[in-house]
Structures are given as structure tokens and as C-alpha cells.
Symmetry: C2
Subunit: 345 residues, 2 copies
């Protein structure tokens, strides 16, 4: 808790409201822009596309874009709206494909595309969304946007492939886990911040720094997301806990827990991850809590958030940095609030 | 047979050899270029990528590119090699995804990626190939390449979605069938020719005309490909015939046959396509033959090839046009040769 003690430690609804109010006109423009894109698709698949471009997402990547190149509290930048549409569409395409792989039936309280239309259509619809995102990226005057987006897309997919390859492997190293989440999540956070600042014509050193901010925040966010699979957060209430363990996906809590088990327990963890025996989720949740692993994971997230902030330290005082800092505070507070939901079995 | 009588009617191995010899240095450079791309992917997935970028394909789209902007009989254009790599990689990515949808175990005499690594990895690997193709496209000085490639990719996927939606529908119209093959196949042929000529700095009217050539040739090629699912061609010997009927995919032969059946036979066709009864392939093959539908389909292909050639008529005399004409002659001869393999039950 060393870091948390220096920071606001309570979940802060005012902060969320403040950021939401600031972002609202930008996100409304983004929603309009995304809806207009539906008309670019052939008539027969417009309903499918509309279903994918739903407006219930958290829009984290767009928020990073708007803040990284903040145009002013009441000014919506058309360029940033278009960039946000590119990055969010890439993200939505990956979700459509993710749901095939995870054999997920439900996302955001609605049946997944794969569930409604079958895997074939879901594969192709994800491809069509990817393609359209790239098309939008090519509409910027320089090729930097489409180039960076293409590289980020390749990296996101690579991270997901590595994750698929590691599934069921109890011996995954910490380095491999970090590499996977860097590719599959932090990459798109990084490019969102980098290009947001670039398209707002910010100086090169800030563009680079804000890219680093995005990368560290992305890592923090993914570790947080993995942790909430084990510890109920407000968002995840009602969701089945422990699906990662049950489906053999080793995340940071499991990797750290591995070191703290006796031989018999370690053997049991191996069998669980490899699918040789069913996952006794309650047992593992209590183990995570009593070994202090949950605290260690939270600490790891705080460290990443501090690194993210550190990369922006030379630019403190600007409105961009202030907003990005506030966004990171929101995540910090969410992680901190997890404490009160700590699992007791 | 009205058109065929004006044209060379024999399969011509000399023609194939001549074109192959001309293309060989270009295709060798393309293979080298594609192999070099493997190093751009993360180490763990390089073997997967190498498996996808195999060198046994027909390389039709690259051939169209090289001929559309022919640099000279001994001159290999670096730009066209790079463009060929972009288009071929997009094509290879679609094959990886196609094999998931078709639940295909074998392609080009090897197990499919989906068969070896599972559907999840195949989805992601296709995505990574798409992304890398786009990245290569962004390396051209203008955004026209990446823009056109992105649109073509979206259209290819859309065509495949429409095809998936029509699967099992015995009432598919001729117009819908043509629209599907235009999107899923002709689009990439069109963009290959268009950009091949563009990157070779050809005049605008030729660039447009060669794009049209590609589109018509693509339609001809897809109808031919669909026909060979029913009539054994040299390439397809040893392959199971009639898989399209058996899996409810209505193609031109089936659409034309539908009009020529009595009520009882039509009901049987409907049940077959919708999967209500098993496909009696021998019955349908003999029906196709005795009703003259095979000849009608061949005629439709010849007409498309003539349209393709017609769009290049104003430019006849140039080496580009001569080579594209020869390529279309190869397809013509292959279609013509199908006659001698006409099915007898």
C-alpha cells in the first residue's frame, strides 16, 4: 500500500462525473461519426455492423485520444473524432473475434455476434470492421496514422496468439505474461495517445512521452482487468468469477500465487490450468487472498500507473497532462476500491 | 459455342510455359519478398506465418499486377513486387479465414492452419496477415494503395458474408450471385490490375480500363472455379465433386439448373440445398449435363472474358494488353478444355 497512501484512496464519483462531462460532447460526436459509418457498408450487413458499433462501451481509447491532444474544454476536434473512430473500430473488431475464441455468449448484457449469427459471420464481420477502420485511417493527409494503426493491429493479434499458445501452460513466465498484455492491450492504448497528440500538432517530445503514458496505463488496465476476473468489482458484479483459471488462462495473480503454494497445491494448480481437473474457484480465491497475492497485484498496477505518470512529469502543468492524470486517478481509485470487495470465502 | 469458335479452343501448354517463363523472375522476387516479411512478425509466430505464405499458390493476382504495369520482359519492378506482396497477403489471409468457415481440413494438399492450430489461432493469424498487408500498403508514397486495398478488403469480406447469409437458400437470384462473386473475387482482381497500372505510372484511362478488365476476369474466374466444383478439371482431379451442392452453396450452375427442372426435381433441389436431404451428387451432375446447363455456364464465362478484353480494346498493341490478353486466353482454354471432361454418369 506504499503508493496508494500517497494518492486519493477512495473511489471518487465526482471525478468520474467531471471527466464524463468534459468528454461528453466529444463522445457524442464520436457516436454520431460511428453511426454514419454504417452507411458505408453494403445494405444487407448494415444491421450487423450497427449491432457491433454499440454505444455502451467504456470508450477508454477514445478518451485517451481526446485528452492526449485536448483541443479545449468546449472544442471538439474533427481530426480526433475520426482517429477515435479508427481506434475504437479496431477495438470493436477485436471484441467480435475475441468472442468467437472465448466461445462467449454474452458481452455487455447482449448476445455476442458469434452467438447470434454464427462463427463464420463473426469472423467476416470482424474482418470488415478492421478493413473499414483501416480505410478511415487512410483518409488522413499523412500515412502515419494508417501505418501506426496497422502495426498496432498486428501487435494486438500477435499478443492474442501468444495468449492462445500459452493457454493451459502453468509455467508461463512473468516476462511472457507482460509481453502478452503489452502487445494485446498496451499497444492500442499507446497508439491512441501517440496519434492523439500527433494529430493535435503537439511537440515531438510530448508525443513520444504521451505514447509511453498510454503503454504503461494499458498494462495497468489489463492487469486490473485480469484481477477483476478474480475479485468482484462494481462493474463485474453478477459476472462469474474465476473464468480465467477455469479456462486455463494464466494471469498475474496466478503467476504470483504459483510461487507461494506448497507442492501439493502447486500440482493442483497445474492440473486445474491444464484442464485435468475442474477448477475449485472458491479454493483459489481464498488462496489468493490469504497469501497476499491480491495486494501484490494491486501494487503492480499502482507501479504501472506511477510509471505512466512519470513519463508525463516533464510536461506537468498542461491541460492535456492534467486530464490524463485525472484519468489515471480514476483507474487508481478503482483498483484501490477493489480492497473493500476482497473476496472472503 | 458462338464465342469459342472465334478463339483458340485447345488447352495450350505452350502458352502456359511462355507466360510462366516471363513471370518467373517477378514471382521469384515476390517469393523472396514474402519470405523476408516473416521476420517482421514476433518470433513465436514466425513458423505459423511461414506456413501461410507458402509458395504453391497460383499467384493469379500477382500475375495480373505484373502484366498490368509490365516493366519490360527482363525488368522486375520493385514497386510492383511490393504491391503483389500486399494483394497476395490479403488473399492468403482470406484463405486462412475461409478454411475456418468451410471447416476445411486440407488446402493445397496440406492441413489447413485451422486444422493444425485450431480456429482461435487461425482467426488471429488471418488478422495478423491482414494487418501486415495493410502495413506494407502504407509504405507507398501516396495513400491510394492503402485506401484501395482497405476498400477491397472490406468488399471481399462483405461478399463472403452475403455468401454465408445465402447458404442453403435455393431461391438466390442471379443478380445476388453475381453481386457476391463481384465482391468476394472480382474486387481483388480489379484492384490488382488498377494499382499495378497506377504504380507503373500508366495513363489514367488505361488504369481505369485495366481495372475493368480485372473485374470481368475475376467474375469469369469465379464462375469457372464454381463450375469446377461440379466438373472435374485437370487441377481438381482427385477432389470431391459437388461439395457446393452438398453444403448448400448455390452457384451459377445450380441457379441455371433450377429453371430447367420439373416440380418434383425442383423440390428435391430445395431439400438438398437446405440440408433436409443428402445430396445425390451423381443425379445432379447428370442433370447439369443433360439440360445443357454446363454449356450455358461455359458461355457465361466466355462472355465475361470477352467483356474483359473489350475494356482493353482501345489500348491494343501495347505489351501490357498483349500479356493480359494471353492470360485471359489461358482461362478461356481451361474452360474450353472442361468440355472433354464433361461428366458422364
Amino acid at each position: 500500500m506504499s503508493h496508494a497512501s500517497n494518492m486519493p484512496c477512495q473511489s471518487n464519483p465526482e471525478l468520474l462525473t467531471e471527466l464524463f462531462n468534459l468528454l461528453q460532447p466529444h463522445l457524442a460526436e464520436l457516436d454520431d461519426f460511428l453511426k454514419k459509418q454504417i452507411g458505408s457498408f453494403e445494405e444487407e450487413i448494415r444491421d450487423h455492423v450497427a449491432y457491433c458499433i454499440d454505444t455502451s462501451g467504456k470508450r477508454i481509447r477514445p478518451s485517451l485520444i481526446f485528452f492526449s491532444g485536448w483541443a479545449g474544454d468546449k472544442i471538439v476536434s474533427e481530426r480526433l473524432v475520426k482517429l477515435a473512430a479508427v481506434i475504437e473500430t479496431v477495438h470493436l473488431a477485436t471484441l467480435v473475434h475475441d468472442d468467437i475464441m472465448d466461445e462467449a455468449d454474452i458481452r455487455r448484457n447482449r448476445p455476442t455476434v458469434a452467438k447470434i449469427h454464427g462463427n463464420s459471420t463473426a469472423v467476416l464481420l470482424g474482418d470488415a470492421l478492421f478493413s473499414h477502420a483501416v480505410y478511415l485511417a487512410t483518409q488522413f493527409p499523412t500515412s502515419e496514422v494508417s501505418e501506426r494503426v496497422a502495426i498496432a493491429m498486428r501487435n494486438v493479434c500477435t499478443g492474442e496468439i501468444l495468449q492462445t499458445m500459452q493457454r493451459g501452460d502453468p509455467d508461463i513466465s512473468l516476462a511472457t505474461y507482460r509481453r502478452i498484455i503489452d502487445l494485446k492491450t498496451a499497444e492500442l492504448f499507446q497508439v491512441a495517445c501517440f496519434l492523439g497528440a500527433r494529430l493535435a500538432d503537439r511537440p515531438e517530445d510530448y508525443v513520444q512521452a504521451v505514447g509511453k503514458f498510454g503503454r504503461h496505463l494499458g498494462i495497468a488496465y489489463q492487469i486490473y482487468d485480469d484481477l477483476t476476473d478474480l475479485i468482484g468489482s462494481e462493474e463485474k458484479i453478477g459476472k462469474t468469477l474465476g473464468t480465467d483459471i477455469a479456462t486455463g488462462k494464466p494471469t498475474l495473480p496466478i503467476i504470483l500465487l504459483r510461487e507461494k503454494l506448497d507442492d501439493e497445491e502447486e500440482a493442483r494448480l497445474r492440473q486445474t490450468l491444464s484442464g485435468e481437473c475442474d477448477a475449485d474457484i472458491d479454493f483459489w480465491l481464498s488462496k489468493l487472498s490469504e497469501t497476499g497475492v491480491v495486494s501484490n497485484v494491486r501494487e503492480a498496477i499502482f507501479q504501472e500507473i506511477e510509471k505512466a505518470r512519470g513519463s508525463l512529469a516533464p510536461f506537468s502543468g498542461s491541460r492535456d497532462v492534467e486530464l490524463l492524470h485525472t484519468l489515471s486517478e480514476l483507474l487508481w481509485n478503482q483498483v484501490d476500491a477493489l480492497q473493500s470487495h476482497r473476496v472472503t470465502v
